[in-house]
């Protein structure tokens, strides 16, 4: 590959998936996404190699790599580590410059991020030590009903009633769900209730940082249509239709920041 071309990568290792995005100048060149393993360094590398492979590039072709996500601290392949909050902001801004609010629902946490026109973070809030509103929570619920995680949203959307869930704590919610099923409540109505209660939680999170259009929904859970609808209702907003897999936003942001760092350090020819 020609040395005169400028490639930058962002690698985002989350608790459920590792993602990589390669950027060439102004456009997304390649992406990679793999489930996270126990070893976050390996997961990050696998995602990066997947992206490199699909683009026919070698690691040496990359001018700068930024690592992000929970695996960022131990990422030897990266030149720098930046938090996923800053990265999500940059990534969403890069794709949709009109976005001012980001809801990120990943595997183990949920974030509300407010950004300005340059994609700089203005304010953010994260849910506290609680799986509610996260991929993990929905995964557990999918397990209870013995359905695929990807189908949860569609099932919830077919509900005729909303059964209130009292608990948003995973452990309690699991046992509560089981007793609701035992009482004869319909699965779709329970699932609808679950989606609503999470959306409510998130609406609460936004009461701390405020909300401004446009709104972008990122992270693994963003692919869940039921969640998207429930959030739109709870927050009374319309969520922007993403141009790429919403799970990749953090890695994309990291790649954009990689480009900025490269520029700053004079590595960009």
């Amino acid at each position: 590959m020609s040395l005169s071309r400028n490639f930058f990568a962002g690698v985002d290792v989350g608790s459920l998936a590792a993602k990589a995005v390669i950027l060439e100048d102004g456009k997304i060149y390649a992406t990679g996404l793999v489930p996270s393993g126990v070893n976050s360094v390996e997961s990050g590398l696998t995602a990066l190699n997947l992206a490199l492979g699909s683009a026919g590039l070698k690691k040496e072709d990359l001018k700068y790599i930024v690592g992000t996500g929970y695996g960022r601290v131990s990422a030897p392949y990266a030149n720098k580590a930046v938090t996923e909050i800053t990265c999500h902001a940059k990534g969403a801004n890069y794709l949709h410059p009109t976005v001012r609010t980001i809801i990120d629902m990943g595997g183990q946490d949920c974030k509300a991020i407010r950004i300005d026109q340059d994609g700089a973070v203005v304010d953010f809030a994260m849910n506290d030590k609680c799986a509610a509103g996260t991929g993990r929570f929905l995964e557990v619920m999918a397990g209870v009903f013995n359905v695929k995680l990807d189908d949860l949203g569609a099932i919830a959307l077919s509900a005729t009633d909303t059964v209130p869930m009292s608990s948003t704590c995973t452990v309690f919610a699991e046992s509560e769900t089981i007793s609701l099923v035992a009482r004869g409540e319909k699965p779709e109505n329970i699932l609808n209730g679950i989606h609503h209660s999470i959306a409510n939680r998130i609406a609460g999170l936004f009461s701390r940082v405020g909300i401004e259009s446009d709104v972008f929904f990122s992270g693994g859970v963003a692919k869940n249509s039921g969640m998207k609808t429930a959030i739109e209702q709870a927050l009374k907003v319309t969520i922007v239709k993403p141009e790429i897999d919403p799970q990749l936003i953090g890695a994309l942001g990291a790649a954009v920041i990689a480009r900025n760092f490269a520029k700053k350090e004079g590595l960009w020819v």
């Binding site: 948003t168 309690f172 509560e176 007793s179 409540e185 319909k186 939680r201 609406a203 609460g204 009461s207």
Partner: protein, 461 residues
Amino acid sequence: MGKQLFRYSEANKEKFLESDNITFNDGSVVTPEEIWHYLTVEGPEKYPGTFEINLYQGNRASRDETLPTSLKTHYLGLTFSERMERAKDKGKSIAFIQGGQAVDPYTAADTIALRPFLVGQWYHGREHGNDINKSVLRRKQSKEKAFHDMSFEACQTGGYEHIQSGNLRVDVVAPYTVLRCSDVSYGVEAHRHGPNKEVKLFNVDYPLRYQASKPWAVEYFAQNLRRLVKTLDEVSGRKTTEDDLLKAIKLHNEGRRLGTELAELWWSADIPPTNSDDRLSLVSLANLDMHGDVQASLSVLKEARNIIAERVKNGVKGHAVTDNPKRIFILGSCVGINDSRSEDAGAIVVGKDDQWSHCSSLVEEEGDPFYNLAKATLEYPYEQSIEKRAEWTIEQIKKSRADGVIFIHNWGCNTQAAVARPILDVIKRETGIPTYIQERDLHGLQHEQEQNRVNAFIEML
């Protein structure tokens, strides 16, 4: 799942129509006829959720229909929201207070005093036609927002969500910041950042650490009460005198006396004359604040006292009470166990300290009414030291012949949770009665796990 609805049976109508009227503060009267109509026609239409049979929400499949006062408290609950709206239209002042306090000074100042539960009842009663699911969802939504505005670790948002963004016409937030509830005490301040700039804030500072024996502390609290009345007067534009307070104290003493009589009659019976739910709703009338109308509460309380005396005399057993139920005394904060399900498991609740301590404290009628009221309030047994509170509780346990004690507190109720264990310790030491601590999962409504444990405790007894 089809929703089953409860309906009052016509079979009891005739008997009910013979019962007393309810007389309200403004002198108006509702007849049993009108109450019956409301309970069978208007009520079910407006509030289908409260007629929905749902054990998990404490809605029974059947009720004590031959206990007229039970229907009346139901009526007062259902009409609460409309009555508050009407009172406001007529220019009445409304104050937010805390549970576990008497309301004599508010009555004196012609102000309706609403504890957190009632503020919620007012707000939720404004929307009609909801089934249980819908009203629970609505409640959860407004709570969630309040938690974010205040703290996630609050169990009690002090009516914040309703007063601040629910357009409830509450004029003044002015609770006694008694020890029982730490959250209301911190919550009062939170109102200062809410959008409702109209609502006045006032803090009736309850001096801490058992100060009833310190004259300067009683004096300080009396000054708080004076300032409270002045603040209420500023809102209403009236001029409350010492004499007004004395009258209010006498009126409330009557409520407290009647309530105590009723409770003691109930306790004296070998067979529980009502179920747990009815017992509590009648005994807690003693504070006269329960339905936002002092006179209405008093008139139902009077009738209830007589009916209970009658039932005890005739050995009538309360509806849905099992034979030889295990008698449970509840301690702790402002929550209780699920009465009907616990009854099904063979128990009955015979007392609850937080609904009782202030109701059983009479106020001296001779001398400075502010000072007397302050002194009586500082003497609330519930607010005393571990040993003293336990000592009083033991007395109540003995009078009520309880077989077991459950200390239940909400998640996040710091000051009650903190003394749960030592208080039960003393009770166990002095009486040997089995005890048990239960924490209520805050947002929990179904309480499956909690009920399992309560049932296990009952079985153990």
